[in-house]
């Protein structure tokens, strides 16, 4: 019998570990001139295993803690990851079950969408991130996401159990 009281603690632990790993390790490992994004990976894994509710919740929380340690506009990561988490959960819940190799493809496409969304909103709010950097960023994040999404989904199942909805999810139904 799983203790549901531990679920939020496990979720928070995953976010903190991902944040520390991101800034202390992954940020230093460049592929094609850009780095991976573990906070987006956590968001995508949450959406793949728990649907749009869990995707948007993890996306917002992961983006928020990432925003705390970045110099980029505060709230932009939270907005981007919330939208991507919701979208991934929605598409995977409604169109197909993310089994087999599908999660790898979904994680890679999510990287492209997230990078483009972040750059686009950046332009809207007056921070003109160069569009020319987008291909390298999307490629690097997609590679990292595809490589790690299956273990990340396993971690999410450890946090929530195979089918368990979170408390907010239950309250809103």
């Amino acid at each position: 019998m799983r203790s549901r009281r531990l679920t939020p603690l496990r979720g928070a632990l995953v976010l903190v570990v991902a944040l520390v790993a991101q800034i202390a390790i992954v940020a230093d490992l460049r592929v094609v001139g850009a780095v991976g994004d573990l906070m987006l990976l956590v968001t995508v894994a949450a959406a793949l295993t728990g649907g749009p509710d869990r995707g948007v919740t993890y996306g917002f929380c992961a983006g928020l803690v990432f925003d705390l340690v970045l110099d980029s506009p505060f709230g932009l990561s939270a907005l981007t990851y919330a939208v991507v988490g919701y979208g991934v959960g929605l598409v995977c819940g409604g169109l197909f079950r993310p089994t087999g190799w599908w999660p790898l493809a979904v994680a890679a496409v999510a990287a492209l969408v997230a990078s483009a969304f972040y750059t686009g909103v950046g332009h809207l709010i007056g921070t003109p991130y160069p569009w020319g950097d987008l291909p390298a960023i999307a490629a690097a994040v997609a590679l990292w996401n595809a490589a790690l999404v299956l273990p990340a989904m396993a971690v999410m199942r450890w946090v929530h159990g195979p089918t368990e909805p979170d408390r907010l999810e239950v309250a809103l139904r």
């Binding site: 944040l19 520390v20 790993a21 991101q22 800034i23 202390a24 390790i25 940020a27 230093d28 490992l29 001139g33 850009a34 780095v35 994004d37 649907g51 749009p52 509710d53 948007v56 919740t57 917002f60 983006g63 990432f66 925003d67 705390l68 340690v69 970045l70 110099d71 980029s72 506009p73 505060f74 709230g75 932009l76 990561s77 939270a78 907005l79 919330a82 939208v83 919701y86 929605l90 598409v91 819940g93 409604g94 169109l95 972040y118 950046g122 709010i125 007056g126 921070t127 003109p128 991130y129 160069p130 020319g132 950097d133 960023i137 690097a140 994040v141 907010l168 999810e169 809103l172 139904r173």
Partner: protein, 276 residues
């Protein structure tokens, strides 16, 4: 197959997106609370990051061993440092000549060489693909404050954007939000340089008339005009190309920074704030 979500999902999505947009709005207004929260988060995460950094150094070194050729990298760094120093010397020389010719104007200005400095080690590079800030191991305990210019022997690196007791964040001059007042070392024409991202040249909006020919390689230094955020005469870069500005009334310049922001190990923080 339908992809319409349950009502609860839509509500949660709307609430969290609204919350994100609110945070974005508050953050864009440079609210002190956001700055304080970020400084607090940096103070908490800094020691943890340092410890993990030390433990995982072998892994990262192995990665770099695979992705870089060590000897070539070292040789490259040495050559780059020599080239940058020579280039910076050239820029400084032409600037000094112009200053001599213009006599007393510059005598009243604080000269960068006389400013007190603090040397700091780069602890970590940018934390995400959209971040243009690096962390250094000196902070307010060493007299560092937000806004202070950061340089290397080659020239301007950026400015301190956040400072806590034992560490600081430095906004690199390649950041799209970075701006610095500059002048051409040869003619003294003024302009504003803006970052355009990693690996891209700085963009300089000048007041130079469109017919003027600005030779490639012309040095660009900080202007240090009244109430500037930077002392005058810090080498910034060299002109790579020039083109007519959008209004057709002035030239826009592309300027290659003298400093390679991807190869920074030690930096010098000039303990200089607006107005000296």
């Amino acid at each position: 197959m339908a992809i319409s979500p349950p009502t609860g999902s839509r509500t949660r999505f709307a609430v969290l997106v609204l919350a994100s947009v609110t945070l974005l709005t508050v953050g864009l207004r440079d609210a002190p609370v956001v700055r304080e929260v970020r400084e607090g988060a940096s103070a908490v995460i800094g020691p943890v990051e340092g410890a993990v950094d030390t433990v995982t150094a072998p892994v990262r070194n192995a990665w770099h061993g695979v992705t870089d050729y060590d000897d070539l990298q070292r040789e490259n760094e040495e050559l780059r440092a020599q080239a940058e120093a020579a280039e910076a010397e050239g820029v400084q020389t032409s600037d000094a000549e112009r200053q001599l010719a213009e006599l007393s104007a510059s005598l009243d200005l604080p000269w960068a060489g006389n400013v007190e400095t603090a040397t700091a080690r780069v602890v970590s590079g940018p934390r995400s693909n959209f971040s243009h800030a690096i962390e250094i191991d000196k902070g307010t305990d060493d007299g560092i404050a937000v806004g202070m210019p950061v340089v290397t022997g080659a020239g301007l690196v950026g400015r301190v954007s956040q400072a806590t007791g034992g560490s600081s964040m430095v906004e690199l001059l390649t950041d799209p939000e970075f701006q610095v007042g500059v002048r051409l070392a040869t003619t003294g024409d003024l302009g504003t340089a803006r970052g355009r991202g990693r690996g891209d040249p700085l963009s300089v909006d000048s007041a130079i008339s469109p017919g003027t020919k600005v030779p490639k390689g012309t040095g660009v230094v900080t202007s240090g005009v009244d109430r500037s955020a930077y002392p005058p005469g810090i080498p910034v870069g060299t002109v790579a190309s020039s083109r007519q500005g959008s209004g057709g009334l002035a030239l826009d310049l592309d300027v290659d920074p003298l400093v390679d922001v991807d190869q920074l190990s030690y930096l010098t923080v000039m303990l200089w704030t607006d107005g000296g």
